[in-house]
Amino acid sequence: MIYSIIKASEEHAQLIAVLSGMHGISNADFLAVSYDDITAVVCDVPKVGMVTDRSATMDYASVVDSLFKDFTLLPVRFGSVMESDDEIRKMLQKNYKEIKNNLLKVEGKLEFGLKVFCDTLKLQARFEDNSKAEINVAATTVSGQNNSIFKDYVNKKLIEYRIEESLLSYVNSLIQKISDCCTGIKAISKFKKMLSPTNIIDALFLIDKEMTNQLIRLVKDLKTRYPDLNFILTGPWPPYNFVDITIS
């Protein structure tokens, strides 16, 4: 199984030292399979009966994390298995240029995650008051007569729609604000929104190591500006979300 691809040759003394102190799935030793100046860190796995539970994925992540402390690396998706060392070497050779480009992109950089939570019920209640007021005005001006049950139904749905749109627009403006703040630290960022009723933003940043403290300060500033929101900043992580390779 391939854990990661690192920028080092297999004779690299530090790599040998780091790998000798670690064990992979089923307690197997790690091996380094190289092509030129890139190396895949691998370990043998049984052909059948490999356990792929939470504990195995946590072990995998902890190995990648340990390697990441000493090397520039590209994490390889958990469970990526190849038949033999030769096949791995061929894969490295075939994808050498892409791998090198990605290693260059993440060199000296760290990934961080920022989750933004909010009490959407509180926020929706605020938007609801606004929407209801708007719809009441609209209903009297449009129909000028008593509403039917169908029209009341549409009004109810319209309120829900406007609340949802207001929430989305609020989240978009927040993402824009975070993006603007990130230009100062030259972060490459990715955003996902509305993952759950409470987790309104899931952001990922790839920044230079030296910018770590500035990122923490930036998030603290956001909390001051948006006291109703909650933030969780995590990291540093290996660049799990910023590697863009289709292995051939």
């Binding site: 319209l158 759950s196 409470t198």
Partner: protein, 114 residues
């Protein structure tokens, strides 16, 4: 997530961790097909798709209502149609013993379907 990976956090961490846990718990939204439950498994899949389409239609309709491009009669007819669709959907959910949560498939890192 190990504690030492948290660089800064605000609010009740335990509560937030529960929220994250709910998001990654995909057990409830898995489609479990077996010879014993082929009917309900398939019903869940089909109703999920119908509900997604119904919600999209409803959203598009509200966008038009909000834009003010519909006449009073059109709004009336739209309300009747949407209401009947929702009632029919409720009937089908009840028939197959499904809840809203069952039809809202968790797409893992992409969040919930609806």
């Amino acid at each position: 997530m190990s504690e030492n990976k948290i660089l800064f956090s605000t609010g009740n961490l335990e509560g937030l961790a529960k929220d994250i846990g709910k998001m990654t718990d995909t057990e409830g939204s898995k489609l479990k097909l077996s010879p014993d439950n082929a009917d309900s498994g398939l019903a869940k899949l089909v109703l999920t798709l119908i509900e997604l389409i119904r919600k999209l239609v409803e959203k598009q309709a509200m966008r038009r209502v909000d834009g003010g491009s519909l006449t009073d009669e059109e709004i009336e007819r739209l309300g009747e149609t949407l209401m009947k669709l929702e009632m029919k959907m409720e009937e089908l959910k009840k028939h197959f013993n499904l809840t809203d949560r069952d039809l809202n498939i968790n797409l893992g890192p992409l969040g919930d379907l609806m």
